[in-house]
Point group: C2
Chain length 362, copies 2
């Protein structure tokens, strides 16, 4: 008997068979009309997910490459940036800024909480020279969704741009790039997009695009101006990751088939709610005060060995993610994004309950 | 009847069925022993292809990302670099250096020829402060193989490092990183490696690794020191392109099965020789004076429309690459790398002969 296996991690997430099959067709060349038509369709479909009229540029890189692109294309050495640090990915923005000589004004918040819009407002008033504010939509490490809309209202009144890492949130948590005043929005392939890791996405508002012309940080491979010039023709400056883009087209068409991005996000909301309720019913506690619809972080109960719990579940075919950074061992995370089904979640939660019981008996 | 299709371009090149199948298996997480074992095996196998004892770092990027990594990890602003410009990819090295404030001393050579080792020697004597020499193994745009070994002998006597873009040449043209004194060697996935685009490879000698510690150019995503620290454990700093790495493991095992890298390179030599002979027998002329075993550049005969010729062949299922940059329209290129078989080449050359005849009759 084949054991059912559930990969419930916030990237990589499972790939639907249809997407796998699309990627397994004989490869085509990228400088052909056939490929350009695919790339153009992908740009148009991604705009719907980002809820933007701006082009969505596709890079061959992990999400970190897109985070770096958002910095080196919009800032100059010595610029000041306000960075919300509420988890590992907020910290990463700060690290990349520092690597490029951008001064970081950190807003450090308790992990598992989100930044108060008032705090961002105060930071902007205290640092009127700040050129950008960096936040997450979903801080993957704490499974927390941030109030991007409210922060967008505040940043929009200043000269600063709002950069939002929506890598793990897009498609699962509500997101409206244009309406919320997000200037740079980032996505990644191995999340709700249901394709393997290897692609990242960057969309720039007009305000951000103007910044790219003044920014003097050095860049070449991820020089977004080069991508922007070609994207509407379905072209890219360097050889794209052809098979992943072809898989993405298929996945985006599946997303459209679930009632578009709104239907897709709504399904994630239901699954997330189901997971949260089940966790609480089991007597466990949620880690995040503002839980994301992409992933749920659960506190490891007192007296339980978090690593042993994850290992025991792995033996049963269930892969959860552990905690990262300072909360390693203190939480585990259950992803409910993309192709992860409600049936998968039910199966995994049953196994979790069973395993917790076994661990107590020891 | 299904029309036989031959993709004979120097990247992407065809993907074997076995590799496609390996990539289409359910995705696994990268922070697991299962994946780490694969990544470790890939590092060991890549060392054999590069002929090096150094680790081979795998980045999620096109080859251009690896070219950028070779610069930002070894040089500092204001440094001088000698760059051989004998085609589009030599020009690219110079462009990236300039983007990062590295002074370029160009060695401009006629396209289709290679740099004379004596010329590199003179440039190094005239520019004793030069920190690096940048060359290609195979300059893809002109299908020319450079005398890397002889240049390595010269650069090895100086403090400069030798950076070799072996992206299109590796696996097809002879290459011996350690024996030839290459300090930074670059590879790319969509060439003789028989997998889709999306991965690039970088190996650093001890001399180059020392440079990374002194280099002050800013970097984060492609900071090779971060990769080097993790590679022997099968880990990587950011989420790797998991499916491509899994495909690569399969492809590397196929390469090993062809008598190892020497057998694999020898097969490319035979196929390249066959293509060159057939081209000359057809009354056509080779473009390059030192033709590579990865790809052959053919001069478009006088009175023939190069673009129309390529388009007519495309209609018949044969995809050749055109010329790039200043030789666009003047040449076409036939790749014979990786999974391209002698049978494919025979078929394509027959169609080429037929199409040239048809074009003359018009």
């Amino acid at each position: 008997m084949v054991k059912k296996r559930c990969l419930l991690t916030p990237g990589p997430a499972p790939i639907p068979e249809k997407v796998m099959k699309a990627m397994a067709r004989p490869i085509i060349h990228h400088r052909t009309q056939q490929y350009r038509d695919i790339a153009k369709e992908v740009n148009e479909s991604l705009k719907k997910i980002f809820k933007t009229k701006n082009n969505v540029l596709t890079l061959t890189s992990s999400g970190t490459g897109a985070m770096e692109a958002s910095i080196v294309n919009t800032l100059s050495p010595g610029d000041t940036a306000i960075v919300v640090r509420g988890g590992k990915f907020g910290e990463r923005f700060a690290e990349i800024c520092s690597a490029y000589g951008v001064k970081v004004v950190p807003i450090d918040i308790e992990w598992g909480t989100g930044p108060e819009p008032g705090t961002v407002d105060r930071a902007l008033r205290e640092n009127p020279a700040a050129k950008a504010v960096f936040i997450q939509l979903c801080e993957t490490s704490t499974a927390t969704v941030y109030r991007v809309k409210d922060i967008g209202d505040i940043v929009g009144k200043t000269d600063a741009i709002l950069v939002t890492d929506a890598i793990s949130g897009l498609g699962a948590d509500e997101f409206k790039m244009d309406e919320w005043g997000v200037d740079v929005a980032l996505g990644g392939s191995q999340k709700a997009f249901m394709i393997p890791p290897g692609l990242s996405f960057v969309a720039l508002s007009k305000k951000a695009m103007e910044r790219t012309k003044k920014s003097t940080l050095p860049r070449y491979y991820c020089d977004l101006g080069r991508y922007e010039k070609l994207v509407e023709k379905g072209d890219s400056p360097w050889t794209p990751a052809i098979t992943l883009v072809i898989g993405l087209r298929e996945a985006l068409s599946m997303m459209a088939g679930e009632g578009g991005v709104d239907g897709f996000v709504a399904r994630h909301g239901c699954d997330a709610e189901f997971v949260r309720k089940s966790i609480v019913d089991m007597g466990l506690s949620l880690f995040s005060r503002f839980p994301s619809n992409a992933v749920t972080a659960v506190q490891v109960p007192d007296g339980t060995d978090g690593a042993a719990l994850i290992a025991a579940l792995k033996e049963k075919g269930i892969t959860f993610a552990g905690g990262q950074g300072r909360i390693k061992g203190k939480i585990f995370r259950i992803a409910h994004m993309g192709a992860i089904t409600n049936e998968d979640l039910k199966f995994a939660l049953d196994k979790l309950k069973e395993t917790l019981g076994e661990q107590k008996c020891r």
